[in-house]
């Protein structure tokens, strides 16, 4: 009548990096990371992401390269991005997770913190990166970034100035939205 128990901790990630409990990572040993452990880490992240069942975010490695993923984010309900879907590309460095992955929008996204090339300005992808983050938390962060932009340091000033008028902004999003084929 007995078994071992497994802990399930679930954290939702708002835009600016919050406290993260799970730390399955060993202490950073900087450069001496072998590819094998990166592979393992990405494998298990994929598994966790597939099993998490979060709605509106998804990502999957490209056919033969687990360092390059395609991601998909849908705009959350009750935001101006509701009903839109954005493709992302994620490319992981060889010393992941000690360095952050490069994440870009592949679909054009009219957003204060996204430039015309799809580059994203998000602290956890730059200076606030920590090895405790993973693909899932990145995607969730970007998803919530859509609805809660940081308009004080915009990449897209037009979007930032329009943000105050949500109705107009919605129209702009609809006008510029080109879903992936």
């Amino acid at each position: 009548m007995t078994t071992i128990n497994s802990n399930n901790q679930d954290n939702n990630m708002p835009v600016t990096a919050p406290a993260i409990t799970a730390s399955k990572q060993p202490l950073p040993t900087a450069k001496s990371v072998d590819t094998q452990s990166v592979l393992k880490r990405l494998q298990s992240e994929l598994m966790a992401l597939m099993m998490s069942g979060d709605s509106g975010i998804s990502a999957f490695p490209e056919e033969d390269n687990i360092f390059c993923w395609k991601g998909t984010i849908t705009g959350s309900k009750d935001t101006v991005f509701e009903g839109t879907e954005y493709k992302l590309s994620l490319s992981f460095p060889n010393d992941y997770p000690f360095k952050s992955p490069k994440v870009k929008f592949e679909t054009g996204c009219f957003h204060p913190n996204v430039d015309v090339y799809g580059n994203i300005c998000l602290d956890i992808l730059q200076d606030k990166w920590s090895s405790a983050y993973d693909v899932r938390t990145i995607l969730l962060s970007i998803q919530s970034l859509l609805g809660e932009p940081n308009t004080s340091s915009p990449l897209n000033t037009q979007a930032a100035s329009l943000w105050g008028n949500q109705e107009e902004y919605r129209k702009m999003v609809e006008k510029l939205y080109k879903p992936a084929a």
């Binding site: 009548m1 597939m50 990502a59 490695p61 992936a180 084929a181």
Partner: protein, 584 residues
């Protein structure tokens, strides 16, 4: 007499034909008469005796004719004969001799296969019956044809058919583990037990070891060589002669399933179910079966089962130990009394869950005193076995309880959830289903399913409340229902209800497969979300590459295709021009 007169007159050659046909007709009638539908005695001898009386010159032809007639007769009835096996073994022996004489084995194969198709391999026959018939067939044909060539031809359609049935594995495992072969109708059918077959194989392997080429014993090799017989001409040279050689019932049965892993897996589930429902720690028969299976399937594949049995043995020891120490403590401390429940009523089974099949987990609030007892027990376990801790699976196991009414007392052995339900009625005789479900901590539908046990026993009565979904359950008191419960109140040692309503505490093999598939489904959804559309082999390759964790993706392209068409049918994905899309 006319014949003899004619012959004496020199008409021999002219009368031959007439004479022959007359005698043949007579013989045929005689054989039919003798043979009849009784397969329990050998009739070949009496036919031979009859032939002896015929003039010498006819004997050879007659003998052949007699054999052929009997053989045809027996072949036509072979199906019935095998149904009656082993009672019908004299008839089989006759048939063997006839066939040795006439060599018309192919006739047997053809006729028997068509009989099988027509009579056995139909939707109406139960899998158990088919399996029993298969085993009897193997045994019977082993007598006729030790090399197993015809058996292979005959067995093929049965095997193919059984592969298509879902419950085949389950039936086989039941046959393997039950001494009765799942058909406890009496002593007549001992021949059915596969367990006995396991025993027999064990002896065989000790004696000969012919199955392997590594026969180091020269003497034995020489004996084997002497016994060598050429393959019968009917043998299909395309099929390897080695595999054909051994007529090994278990091997042939396992052959139906395809791999022993599946069989072992199913056995593990069944064993888990059995062990979890035990209230004593008596596992002698399980150990015996396991030892036999180990001989056949190898130590390593049965290892998990062995660990399960060891868990039981350890549990017994730990259980005694914990009880002894707690009782000691309570004698000095004197605090046990307040619970009102003594530890003596509790026996636990401590399992190493990694090695057991996945176990169904169901939340359940059990009555306070019992809960207290369990945590005391767990605390003591932790003290003895630091750092290990007990995690109770409160929904498993069995509860023996006695219900006392004004006029009678009833005893039941039930699942914990049933016990929890009925305990709630101790203080409050009427509950609505909503409140009761909340009190026990189980979903409404589970409650409704489980509570029907007590309703069927006449202990509780159900009445519709104001809300159509909210029923009221009331304790049925005393006399009123004695007539209703009738037979039940007389003999109250009930079966475990877990078996009754088809509830299983261990996830079955199909459940496990479904779980595996659920993982693949998530991966497939994931890749289709991000790549839009994919062809079958790209999905296959991607799964192979990235779905590597537990359980790794190990399905064939065909299996994947089948699974994908399942998803298409569920309208989760769609297929157009050979590529799959997510259904939007």
């Amino acid at each position: 007499m006319v014949v003899r007169d004619l012959r004496s007159l020199g008409f021999t050659s002219m009368t031959d034909d007439a004479y022959a046909s007359a005698i043949f007709l007579l013989l045929k009638a005689k054989v039919h008469d003798l043979a009849g539908d009784d397969y329990r005695s050998s009739i070949l001898e009496s036919i031979k005796g009859w032939i002896q009386d015929v003039p010498l010159q006819w004997q050879l032809r007659l003998e052949y004719f007699a054999y052929e007639t009997l053989q045809d007769l027996r072949i036509a009835k072979l199906f019935e004969i095998i149904v009656d096996y082993p009672d019908s073994s004299p008839a089989i022996e006759d048939l063997k001799q006839c066939l040795e004489y006439t060599g018309q084995h192919s006739k047997l194969v053809d006729s028997f296969i068509s009989a099988l198709q027509y009579r056995l391999l139909t939707a109406g026959a139960s899998t158990n019956d088919i399996l029993h018939q298969y085993v009897s067939t193997i045994k019977a044909l082993r007598t006729i044809d030790p090399a197993g060539v015809f058996l292979e031809a005959v067995g093929e359609p049965i095997r193919e058919y059984l592969k298509g049935r879902k419950d085949t594995i389950k039936c086989i495992v039941t046959m393997l583990t039950d001494g009765t072969g799942g058909n406890p109708s009496g002593p007549g059918n001992t021949g059915d037990s596969l367990l006995e077959e396991l025993n027999r194989d064990e002896e065989n392997q000790e004696n000969t070891g012919v199955d392997d080429d590594i026969n180091t014993d020269d003497k034995q090799a020489w004996i084997n060589a002497q016994h060598w017989e050429p393959d019968p001409v009917e043998a299909d040279p395309l099929k390897g002669s080695r595999s054909r050689r051994k007529v090994d019932i278990l091997g042939m049965i396992v052959g139906i399933i395809g791999s022993k892993d599946q069989l072992v897996n199913e056995y593990r589930v069944m064993l888990a179910e059995k062990l979890l429902n035990k209230s004593d720690y008596d596992i002698d028969s399980e150990i015996r079966t396991l030892e036999l299976l180990k001989i056949h399937f190898g130590e390593s594949s049965m290892q998990r089962c062995e660990i399960m049995l060891n868990d039981l043995i350890d549990s017994k020891r730990t259980n005694t130990n914990i009880k002894a120490t707690i009782n000691q403590l309570s004698q000095t401390g004197g605090e046990v009394g307040e619970n009102g429940v003594s530890l003596d009523i509790l026996n636990s089974t401590i399992i190493s869950s990694n090695f057991w099949p996945p176990i169904q987990d169901e939340a359940l609030n059990i009555p306070g005193p019992v809960d207290q007892l369990l945590s005391d027990y767990a605390k003591r376990f932790n003290e003895i076995k630091t750092p290990r801790k007990l995690q109770w699976k409160k929904n498993l196991g069995a509860v023996k309880l006695e219900l006392q009414f004004e006029d009678r007392a009833l005893q039941f052995t039930v699942a914990p959830v049933h016990a929890s339900i009925i305990m709630q009625f101790q203080d409050q005789t009427s509950w609505t289903s909503k409140n009761l479900a909340a009190a026990i901590g189980i979903p409404m539908d589970v409650l409704n399913r489980r509570i029907s046990f007590w309703i069927s026993k006449g202990i509780l009565a159900e009445s519709l409340g104001a809300d159509s979904n909210d029923h009221t359950f009331t304790l049925v008191d005393g006399m009123a229902d004695t007539s209703k419960t009738g037979g039940n109140s007389g003999s109250c040692d009930e079966l475990l209800v877990g078996d009754e309503d088809g509830e299983r505490s261990v996830a079955s093999v199909e459940d496990q497969l479904r779980k595996e598939m659920a993982v693949y489904e998530k991966f497939i959804t994931g890749m289709l979300t991000n790549f839009g559309s994919m062809a079958l082999d790209r999905i296959h390759n991607t799964l192979k590459m990235f779905c590597v964790a537990d359980p790794p993706y190990d399905k064939s392209l065909q299996q994947l295709q089948g699974f994908l068409s399942g998803l298409v049918a569920e309208e989760k994905i769609e297929i157009r021009d050979g590529v799959y899309f997510l259904k939007k």
